[in-house]
Each structure stands twice: as structure tokens, then as C-alpha cells.
Symmetry: D2
Subunit: 410 residues, 4 copies
């Protein structure tokens, strides 16, 4: 029995990932988890970095692999971790993204407003725990930081969790942006636990610095790249328009499951009361969105068809990203042009011309700070421990403002 | 103008790919080419190697990049190649896969029987040449081996073409199967032209041997991996069943463009006579197939819904792959079980239990053999030139037989 | 105590190597082992591949790392391996090269004729075992194949031992010859033990094929590269000449320890009888050879100074490497030219013009063949198991003949 | 003729390096340059990172390769660079380290005090220019910043020169410290020239930030690693003692060329007046130092033999590295112990217990600042251009203090 489930999964990043436990194997084979094969980790980023097609499925397994290695390192240093806790931590990290819908950001701004992917994750975990007869209880307690050993939660969710370690490395690998490469191996070998808190031994300080800087660089070079912002906002607008039309009674082609969410406004409460709703949501993936969008490109509504066609042909908004707020007059001028050029109302013009801001903090000392353990036993927040780089600066929230508008408006 | 089109594309394999020419930029931005972003290079291989999600879009650009390097090397060795020929070769390789539909193999065995992707490629190239006012004429002549300089065609299509160099390297990278890693850099630096034929300088012989062996290993480890065969045949059967039902008048949910091809049997002649058909086909991508398939999983037809659900939940056929033909009695016994277990006819059982064969030749001396150029000017077929490995053996066609059946039948 | 010796060593190939045991730490810190820091793994190969400067020190630690991983994999599959056996296997692989002198090949053909590096290894291990109070007894038994569990010896020395796995990967990495890259991770995860014999599970067959082919390609592309042969033979001749002069009473500058071996002809018996001789030998490293050679370049003897200068300025022999034996007349003609050009005797001309042969077998079925374990429990020699490549061919001994002569002779 | 010199050199980092010009080939084959094969780039760093055995030879060729790529990129952007300038820049970077002795730092603090490696480089270049009949004149002018086109000098020597790009990448590769990995390919593709100054296009700003941070991390993790400092200072002390003894008339074993420099105190003036002195110096390499040191380990002088033995057996000083100055009392206490333990004078104790400081600035705005070119044509110092990281902080000089003493003193 056991050995049949000791599957090996190929990963171009780690080489080979061995599934360390039967329950891990069973979770991975559950339809809820298999759905993650059809949800890209980085949404529309592949329009800028064509290799970035990796999925939340691969990421979750990668993070589980790192968790397995981290637990082994900690045990070898004498940290007590029971078999139940090991399974709990492995399952918690495996399921940390289970509630993500396709293009989460876009969905949450248009189709399932008011229901976050964290809410859905929680509901799905409970459902799975029920199906697996309570075997996920420890995992859920660790995930929700309700388990006595805090460091286990930190491995799942903190500023130095296995989630971040995997996604930085993975996103860097598949985009080809070498700035994000980090030494997960090195960082993990330097982990330790002091007073129930995850710490990093002093020798690993440079790897941590590199990790924090890599993260910030990845934010600006990939996650908040202006063309990625442009594509994501285009999708938000497409879904908003589709929802607007559907709500107004227009019959739009859509896959059955997307159709349901286009025509109705479900609340978190609805999800709790009607379990079949969760099941429906758990069928939604990238294919529903893109296949429906493809048909809209040939539809009658000028706004919906134009935006959808722009997406398919990668005719994205021009985006200006800057440190200062967007001047109102500049924006108004562009709106005027859009109204005139496309013969639309000012309200409709918001689908074509809009502005917003994004921000990022590389490190946040106030929230589970990363502590460095020195040979003399002293602990120091990494931001203070480093005299090499000015890491204090990474505490700073960096905000950038952007405006999007069609290229032919200029 | 010019400089705006000198775009740089990130590729995790080559680092940076520079678009060498305006026409290359224009082709890449054409909707026909953008569609390739939505067609995975390796179809369902990601069910076995989860990283294998790369697209024909990325492959075509990678192959173009290698072509650009190969042309530069040849020019530096004194081979005369005009600017028009350079553009021709770049465009030819860029478009070599343009006619591929989603999951080509599956499609050609079910939906568009009798119309090969080569046929479609040819039609699309002609259409594009018309749109680009004849600028693709040289590319098309090179592609069809109608251009006087044969070596240009060999760079596009032969046993050592830029297509193979890129796909081996790319598939190896994204699957994580290191057996396929080849030294494209080294091979390209060793290329030369003698008597209008592409040759490899003697120093590169080991790289060529490695390339031939890598290719054979990739065939058995990836392209013809038994679980990949299982998944592909599952999709063939799903599409066959959907077509069968549609033809019989059953109304199935499907995206508009897939619907058209499910309900009709188009011939190559239809494609030639009705240009709008080509346009429709050029809208079909992975999303149409999977989104439609997803809805079928909830449908009424036992066969279609069972197979579709199996695909979504990665409940693939058990596949046995072997050197000897499948025993008829063994197969019949499994069919009997299926008939009984699922209460279906023997004819319907073919959707669940079936056998076939696959074969592969690593190298074929008779078809544009790879010639090694020795320092004394002598040319030798690589199969003869090598005294290190027994490359003659690679000429052999290796055939394997397989049978697929549901796991619960055993 | 323990933890202080849990050192981590950086390895650009494996990332981090953890020393798994105190005794491993102590051996590495012994002067006998530290000497390996000053002995290059590939002798003069850096004259062809400038990156190939890695040492036997690094290789031995790398092989120990792979051994540690292999033992862990086997244990996880239920193979019984005691702590004493673990330590024994680790120490055995760590010490497998301990008797190598600098440029072993050259030394054994000139300075310490009749005493092989295997002899020295054996003597050093016994000496160390004495110093470590018998703690190396198991290691020595495993090394000499006198330990009951044969598979432990196979991990140290067979056609699929940790030595080969590390050196292929390491030599490939540092030379930059990607043909030699192998998947050590994959191969090791596929190891198992059946009837006390090391076997490879069927899934790993392609990795083994890749490994055998990589090894053969590395032989011809690196280890027996004609310019490497040229450099090694130049060194052999330099040392022969130095020995010849020393024996005849000429006082040559040399480091004290090299001087001892230049002036005397020690036999294996001498080494056994005079322990201080072993101690002297264990001080000899690359620096003694090259530093002495450097001074010879400015010396009086025409032959010794010419050859030494040629080495320093990388003015190597021209080497012709071919499948047929060297024609006697061709060689004689070159000798005649040398005699005339340098005004030397025919006997002396042998320092300038000489021929020899080299050979290589990629795989040898008769000597601890590599066995593949199929799912049905059947074992097959890899040469028979593979229907993909013609591995039988790898059994063939390939012999090549070469002649060396100064470039200015032609 | 030409083609024979078009040699290809294997580099595990760049794959293949093509020698772009005959003169490059001729310089590389000159004995002065071949000597660099015997001088490790990172001195004794291999005692901490065992892979760090790469030589100045390999580095110089690597930097030449990057120069060749940079010049090609600039030409493709319309920057005018003549063939003579191309050759000049290639030769300048090739020769930029030609004057380095073995373990430069140690030598300049002991054997050739008052004569820097820059002085020697200059003398050797003049000598070579004489031998090559003036063909190096442009290279020398570029090297000395006497050539009108300043950007050529910047490519050879500035805060973003090809020297730094290569050594960061190379040192990172061979040590295995992934923190130093930089995207040389990306940086070079972003280079441009404005008003005769080298600039980086705005798109490359993240790569520059990564480069600056990588450099700082490499300083603390490798170049100024406390154990590396320990080893280097041990060598300085060994050579100081050897010189002290030699000056006092003690006859020490040493290779002829090292002997000369041990027995005499040459000034820069001596080097200018006696050309044969330069020739002697140009024979000194790592082998002279280590081979002589090896014999000293068996010598009579307690200090010299103890220190030499410590080096050979890697019994390095314990080193404490800290942000605050070393307390005088702490140091004195250790000296007292040394005096007592080894029965030596306080003056002699300085060979065993000593303190010093090291410092590093990652970036220096005042010295050829790195300028970022924005799309609007505006130029900004990278320290100001970046709003992402606090690069201003990199301007800061970081100083650290260290004390070394034998482990057995504590």
C-alpha cells in the first residue's frame, strides 16, 4: 500500500520531489487539488514573460517539498516534531492556496466581490477534512495559527515561509528573471527554532539579505511590471463588463460554471449556507475564463468585444507607472479623447482609461520579523543584524501610481 | 520605427532573445501567431511532467533565435547569405508550426480527419503572405524546399534543423528530464556549408552523437512515455465520442468555434474553397477543448461524461507498453470485463479498452543524413564517422506496442 | 563536540555538503587528506580546458556526499545498513584516492615505477587505521571487498560506484563539456539491493544509458583528448629525463621531497619496510613537480630545459590520434628530422618523437555488470535490458593510436 | 593564417569563447600571459571554498569575451568604434591583470613592498608593446585613460567594467556562492553611450541594482570572509618571516626566482633600470610560493616552520571579525599567552597574534558613477534613479575590524 503512494514527481527546479506520506498522495489526487493544474500561478504574466505558465499545482507541491526538507533539518538539530505535526505541516502548506480561483485578483474585483480566496480556502479545507475523516485537523490548526507550536505556522505563513521560498525560486525560473534566484537550500539548512520561534543561524544572514532583495526586485520586475498590470486590469474590466451585461439580462456565452457566477452575486454567507456553491466554485479554472472571453471577442457589445479582442491579440493598454500621483488633467484629457473616439459615455470610458496605485514592502519588522541567531545565543531582527546593506530601507512601503489607456488614444 | 520593433523577449533558456527584424516583429504580433500562446507544445504531457506547459509560441521564437545564431555563424565562415535570405529563413522557421491545432494528434484523429497540420500551415502561410504583400515569398520557398540554396531548407527542416535543436532543449528544460539537454551553442558553432549542404565540422562530432542519443532518450522518456500515451488517447476518445454524439444530433455544450468542427466534417477541399473556414480554425486553441470537455464531465452520456471526468481528475487509463504485440486474448478478456462492468456494447467498449503501437527512429541515414566535415575536406555520414558509439544502431526503427484500459478493470 | 564537527562545505555542484559524522571530519582534517587539496583531479587537462583545476580533495568529498545520499535511499527502501557500515562506506569512499601522487600517470611512468597508487592507498589506509585506533577497519574491509555485504563495496568500486558518479559530474562541470552531465540525483534514487547486489530499478534505465554514454563521450572528449595526451606525455618525458640525469649524478634543483624520489629507485618493498618513506611520499604534490620543472627550464641540459620550457609556455607536441596503428616509416622519418634538427642521438630523440596507444571500454558486462530490476522482480544486465540503444556496442574496447612530435618538425 | 588563430576556448561559464582577433591569440600565447595559468584568481580562498581554484588566465579571457560582446552591442546601437579601437579595448582588458604576482596581497605586504601590481602591469605592457612592434599602443592608451573615447576606458576600468562583470560571475560560479550570480548578458545588452560616457538603459536598472548588491554580498561572504582573511594573513606572516630570516643571512630553501626576491629589496626604480628584473618577476607564480613554503614546514626556525605547517594542514588562525575596533586589553592578553606558551618575544608574538581592519564600499557615486538613461533622454546616477532599494546606502564605507590568534591560545 504505502509504497504505491511513494510517488516521485519531476520538477525542473528541485529535480525530483518524493511524496513523503500517503495522505499527501491522497490530497494531491483529490479533484479539488487536481483543479490547481488548470490555474496558472502568475495569471497573465506570460504575456510579458512567455515561460511563466507554471501552475498553483506545481507551486503547492514545490512548497511541500521545501517544507519536508525544513522539517528534516529542524529535527536533525534536535527540534521535537511529531509524526502528526509533520503531516500537519506538510498538508497545511500543500493546501495553502487551495481556495485560489483563476486569475484571483481579477475575479475578486469583478465576479466574486466580497469573497476572498482566503475565505474559500478555509471552506475547502473544512470540506476536505470532513471527507478525510478528521485527518486534516492538525493541518488546519497549524494553518490558522491555532496550534501550540508557533514555528510550524511560521513555516506555512510568515515572512520566511516555504510558500515564499518556493514561489520566488519558481517564478524566477519560469520567467527567466535571474534577479529572483535565491538559495533555498542554504536558507533551509540555516533554519532553527528558539523559544518556539523560527530563526536563522548567523551564517545564513547573507542568504536572507539576498532573499529580501530578490523579493523586492521580483515585485517590480515581474509581479508589478507595468505590462502585467496592464493585462490584469484589462481582464478585470472584461469580467466587470460581462457581469454588468449579464446582470442587465444580456445573454452571454459562457461555460456553465462561469455563467452561474456571472448571473448571480454570491456573498460569503451564500457559500457557507449552500455547500453546492463551493463545489461549483471548485470547478472554475483558467479555461472557463479564457474560453468564454474568446467568444465575447466576436460579440455585439462594443466594449466587451473590443476589450476581449485586445486581450487575445495582446493589444494591451499603454501603461505609465511613476512615483507621483497621476495628474487629474492628464487623465481627463485621455478620457475626453476616448469618449470622442469610441462614441461612448464618460462612465463607459472608465473601461478604457483608468488609474490606480500599487505598493510593496519588501520586509515588515512588525509582523513575524525574521530573527537571526548569533553564536552567542543572541537574537536580532535581520533589519538590525545586517550592517552590510541598509535593510531598514526595505521596511519602507514603496507606492507607485499608474494610468492605463489604449495605445491609439495618444 | 525600426528601433521600436527591436524588442527583447525573455527566455529562461537563452536568457534574452532579440527580434532581429521588423517583419519578425510583425508576424509575432499577428493574431494567427498570438494564438500559439494558447497551444501547449507538448499537449497533455504536463499530466506526467507538471512543468511541461510551454507553448508553440515560445518554441517558435526559440527556434527563430537559433536560426539567427546559425546564420551569423555561417556568414562569419564566408557562406554567402543575402539579407532577403536571412529574413526568409527566419520567417520560415518562425512559421513552421503555424498550422498546428490544439492537441494536434488528438484533433487529427477525431475532429479534422484528413486535414493535416502541414496542410493548414501551408494555407496560413499563403494567407499571411497575401496580407504582408508578398514579403513571405522567400520564406515559403525555403520552407517548401523550392529555394535554390538547399542548406537554408535544411536549417528549417532536416535531421539537424533549428526546430529539433530548440524543442529538445526546451522540452528537456520544462520537463526537468536532464537526459535531453543538448549543447545547441556548440552544435551551431560547428555548422558549415559544403556544396550547398549543411555539414558539421569534425570537432562537433561528439555533440552530434549526444544530440542523437538525447533525442532517442527523450522519445521514450517523454514523447512516448506510457502515461503520456494514456492521456493523449483518452483525449482522442473524448473528442471522437463528442463528434459521434454531435453528428447524431445530440446538442453538446461547446465553444462556438469547436462546435462548428464537431458538427461538420470538413475536407481539405473545404478549407481551400472557403477561406472563412481557415479563419475559424485559426481561432481554435487549448481553451476551446478543455473548457468544452469540462462541461461534458457533467453531461448525460455515460461514455463522454466518464471519460471527461477521468481526464479532469487525472484518472488515466492503465497502460502497458512492451516490445511484443499485445495478445488478442488478453485484450478480449479486458473488453469482456468492460462490457460487463459498464453495461455497454463491445463497440462502445473500444472507448475503454484499446491497443496500438508507436515507433521511433533516432536517425535516418537516407533522409538528409548529417554529414561530418573532416579537416582534410572529406565528408562522412555521422553514422559512419563515429567509431565511438554504435550509431548505426540508431538507424533502427524501434516499435513498441501498448494496451490501455481503466484501472478498475483489473 | 559532535556539533562542532558538523561542518558544511560549499560545493558549486551539490550546493552544500554536510559532513555526516565526526570521523569523516577527522579524516578530512588529517594532513594526508589535506594534501589532496594540492593534487589536481585531472592533472594537466587544464591546458586544454582551463577550468579543470579541481582537486582530488573536492572529488573525494563529493563522492562521500553521494555515498551518504545513496545509503539514505537504500535505508528508506528497507535495506539494512548499520551505523558502523554507514561510517565504513563513507570512509572507504573518502579514502579511495588517498594514495594518488601528483600527476599519477606521469609519476608511475617515471619516478616511482613499480609502485602503483593502489599500493600506496592501501599502505596509507593501514597507517591511518593505526592512528585512528582501528576505527577504519570496516572501511578497509569494504574497500578491499572483504566485507560480507558486497553491495557496500559496489558503491565504492564498481561500474556504477559513487566515484564514477562524482567524477563524471565534476569533470563535466569544471571543464564545461556538457556532454558529461549526468543525473546523479536520479540514478541514486533508483538504486536498490537484491540478493546483496546493487541494482537499478527499471524506471532508471534511461539515466543509466545516459550515464554510460556520457562516460564514453567524456573519455574521448576529455580524458583521452589528444592535446591532453600530448601534455601528459610531455610531463612523463620531463620526469624521465630528470630522473635519468639525477641517477647519473647530475645535481638538479628540486624540492627536498621530489629530490629524494629522483635520486632513488624505491620498490614497493622499500615502502613497506621504511614507514618514513610513506610519510615522505605523502608530502609530494603538484607544487613539487611544477616548481622544480620551472627551474629546469633555465637549466643546462638541452633536452630537460627544452621540454620544461615547452610545458611552461604551453608549446605542446603536435599529436595525431587515429584508429589505425602509426606507420613505422612515418615515425622514423620524424625521428630522423629530430636527430638532425636538434643534434641529438636517436635514443634521445625518443624524448621528442614517440607513439603509443590508448583504449577505452564504456561498459564491461563481465565485471560487476549493472543490473536492472524490473517490476516483476526480474533482473537483467543493462546491456540486454535496453532495447532503445545498442548498448552491447559499449562492451567493445575502442583502441586509438597516437604519435607525438614537436610542431617545428613538420 | 587568420583562421588558425580563431581558436575556441571552453569556459564552463560562457560555454564557448571565440578569440576574435589574431593579436588576441598571440598575446594569450606569450609566456607572460601563460604565466597567469599558474596564478589563482582568489589566492587562498580555496581553503574556504574548495572550488575556487580558477586562475587569472581564465578570468582575463572571460573579461575579454564580455568586452567583445559589449563592443558588438554598442556598435549595433550606432556607437562608432573602429577596428583599431576594438582591438585596443580587447587587448587592454586582456592585459589588465598582467602584473599580478602570486597572492598579490601577500607579496606586496612582504616580498616586493613598494612596488604595486599596477606598476608591474604598466612595465609589462610596455615591454609587450615593444615586442609586438607598437601594436598595443591603442590598448595602453585606453588602459591609462589617455584615449579620446572615454567610454572605452570605462569598459576596461570603472564601476561597471568588464573586469567586475567577469570576476563576480566567475568567483560566484567557482565558489558556489549563488549570491554573486549576476546577469552579465542582460547588463551588456542594456549598455549604451551618451556624450562619450557609458550608460545603462532604464530597462536594465534592476540588473544594475542586483549587480551592486551581489558585489557587496560577495565582499563579505567571500573576499573578506574571516577565514579567507585568516589564511591570507598567515601567508603574509610566513613570507615576512622568510624575508626577515633571509635578510639576516639565513639560507632558506626556495625556488631560484623566489630566492632572488627574498634576499633583495627591490624598488620600483630597480624594476625600471634593470629589465631582467621584470623578466624574473614574470616567472614568479603560485608554485614558487607554495613549494618553498612546503620545505619551510620542516625547517629549524620555530616561527617559520610552525606557520608553514599550519598553512599546509589548514590549521588557520581563529579570526574574530566585528564592527567595533578590537579592544587593546583583549589583544594584549592574547599576546601575553602567546609569549608564554611559545617562549617567544613580544615582537615575535606579532606573527601569531595581530589585528587589522578591512573595508568595502559597494558603490562610489563620485568615481565614474553608473548612469541610467531614461526613455526621455534624461541621465541619472543609479543611486538616485532607484526608488526601489536604498542604494544611497551602498555609498557608505563599511569597515570591519578583526583579530587573529592561534586556536590553541584560547
Amino acid at each position: 500500500m504505502q509504497t504505491n503512494k511513494r510517488k516521485i514527481i519531476n520538477d525542473p527546479i528541485y529535480g525530483f520531489v518524493t511524496l513523503p506520506d500517503d495522505i499527501v498522495y491522497d490530497i494531491i489526487n483529490h479533484p479539488y487539488f487536481q483543479r490547481l493544474r488548470r490555474i496558472k500561478q502568475l495569471g497573465l504574466t506570460n504575456l510579458v514573460y512567455p515561460g511563466a505558465l507554471h501552475t498553483r499545482f506545481h507551486h503547492a507541491i514545490g512548497a511541500m517539498h521545501l517544507m519536508s526538507e525544513a522539517l528534516q533539518v529542524l529535527k536533525s538539530k534536535g527540534v521535537e516534531i511529531t509524526d502528526d505535526e509533520t503531516r500537519g505541516a506538510l498538508n497545511a502548506i500543500l493546501l495553502h492556496d487551495i481556495g485560489h480561483g483563476p486569475f484571483s485578483h481579477a475575479l475578486e474585483h469583478s465576479i466574486v466581490k466580497g469573497v476572498s480566496h482566503e475565505d474559500i480556502s478555509s471552506l475547502i479545507m473544512d470540506d476536505l477534512n470532513h471527507q478525510f475523516k478528521g485527518k486534516l485537523s492538525t493541518a488546519i490548526r497549524i494553518f490558522n495559527n491555532q496550534y501550540p507550536k508557533t514555528f510550524l505556522h511560521q513555516l506555512v505563513s510568515s515572512q520566511l515561509d516555504m510558500d515564499r521560498l518556493d514561489y520566488l525560486k519558481r517564478d524566477s525560473f519560469f520567467t527567466g528573471v535571474s534577479e529572483g534566484v535565491i538559495s533555498t537550500d542554504r536558507i533551509i539548512k540555516m533554519l532553527n527554532v528558539v523559544d518556539d520561534k523560527l530563526v536563522v543561524e548567523a551564517k545564513g544572514i547573507y542568504s536572507i539579505e539576498k532573499f529580501l532583495i530578490a523579493r523586492r526586485l521580483m515585485y517590480w520586475q515581474v509581479y508589478l511590471h507595468k505590462t502585467v498590470l496592464s493585462a490584469e486590469n484589462l481582464l478585470v474590466n472584461i469580467l466587470k463588463r460581462a457581469k454588468e451585461l449579464s446582470s442587465a439580462g444580456t445573454e452571454l456565452f459562457a461555460t456553465p460554471v462561469l455563467s452561474l457566477f456571472l448571473k448571480n452575486d454570491f456573498t460569503k454567507d451564500d457559500f457557507i449556507k449552500k455547500p453546492e456553491l463551493l463545489e461549483k466554485f471548485a470547478k472554475l479554472d483558467d479555461y472557463d475564463i479564457m474560453a468564454s472571453l474568446k467568444s465575447w471577442a466576436d460579440g455585439d457589445d462594443f466594449i466587451l468585444s473590443t476589450l476581449s479582442k485586445n486581450m487575445l491579440e495582446r493589444n494591451l493598454y499603454r501603461t505609465e507607472l511613476q512615483s507621483e500621483a497621476i495628474a487629474v488633467s492628464y487623465k481627463n484629457n485621455l478620457i475626453d479623447k476616448a469618449v470622442k473616439k469610441y462614441s461612448i459615455t464618460r462612465k463607459e470610458a472608465a473601461y478604457f482609461v483608468f488609474s490606480d496605485s500599487v505598493n510593496n514592502t519588501a520586509y515588515n519588522s512588525s509582523n513575524y520579523s525574521i530573527n537571526i541567531l548569533f553564536n552567542n545565543g543572541k537574537l536580532l531582527d535581520v533589519a538590525e543584524a545586517s550592517d552590510v546593506l541598509n535593510l531598514q530601507a526595505l521596511n519602507k512601503v514603496v507606492t507607485k501610481y499608474f494610468i492605463c489607456y489604449p495605445k491609439d488614444l495618444q
